[in-house]
Amino acid sequence: MNAGSAPALDSALFEFALRLGDTTLVLGQRVSAWTGHAPIVEEDLALTNVALDLVGQARLWLTLAGQIENAGRDEDALAYFRDAHEFRNVLLVERPNGNFADTMARQFLFDTWHFYTLQRLATSRDERVAAIAQKSVREVAYHVRRSGDWVVRLGDGTDVSRTRMQAALDDLWPYTGELFVSDAVDRELVERGVGCDFEALREPWSLHVDGILREATLERPQDGWMHAGGKTGRHTEQLGYLLAEMQSVRRSVPGERW
């Protein structure tokens, strides 16, 4: 694209890092809203830990995106000074927290995908991508175990908890399709040995999800029409509210340090 002497921007990898950065950032922000509101203090801390893990991962991905872009934008500039249509997170993670079952169902569906994604990225030919994935996958291995346990506890729990968990799964299911769609960016990076073949994740994801749902005596929702668009900046209206809350302080005093 650039005919000058400057090295060409690796726009595919920039986009890819942005997607993972935004996805972990938005979910981290969502989960952090439970702080002080969880059912018991132990769960409060556990959820806060998960949120902090995700925000930590977001910082790494967004920093990488900024380096690739090489236009002076750091992690903060990318997190706080872009609007909803510039965010590249998958739609699943911007779904509202709802009740505890909604949050845990979202977490479980996401964690499972996240784990397999990172597992593959850990052997990426790009050292920076591999390093972030190797660090993150250990955190996510714990997330996926915890959220799976909660799906089983609530699904195989009381009538109320079972009903809520099933409803949560039914609500969120149409947002899982996007996780397994590869577009031109993904395909280019797979070809270069850098990215992850998301379509190939569908099978291991399904296997794990089915196993947990069976244990939880829950029904796997039917695969029907699936939402998509998050990866290219088309979001649900909820993202705007989330960003407004997340960005307002930083934008009110740009350049301030504290």
Binding site: E42, E43, A46, R145, D149
Partner: protein
Amino acid sequence: MSDTSDRAGWPLWEVFVRSGHGLSHKHVGSLHATDATMALQNARDVYTRRNEGVSVWVVKSSDVVASDPSDRDLLFAPAQDKTFRHPTYYTVPEGVKHL
């Protein structure tokens, strides 16, 4: 409220953490959890957030058998004046090597 050891199916657990230096597990506090698996996970999340440990034990508080505080004098006071039970009580005879 009345029974803090089992608030509606959330019994109390005692948590022991072993730090990374080959020391024994040490009691660090307690928490509520519905079962052993959750107790371990909660222990990890509540008590090892700052890299405190490499191993965690959880024990149901109700399974801990403790001495009665009112037995303190009866059980422990008699040991107070038994200085001869400490190795430092004895003087080492001159000429003894390899001690």
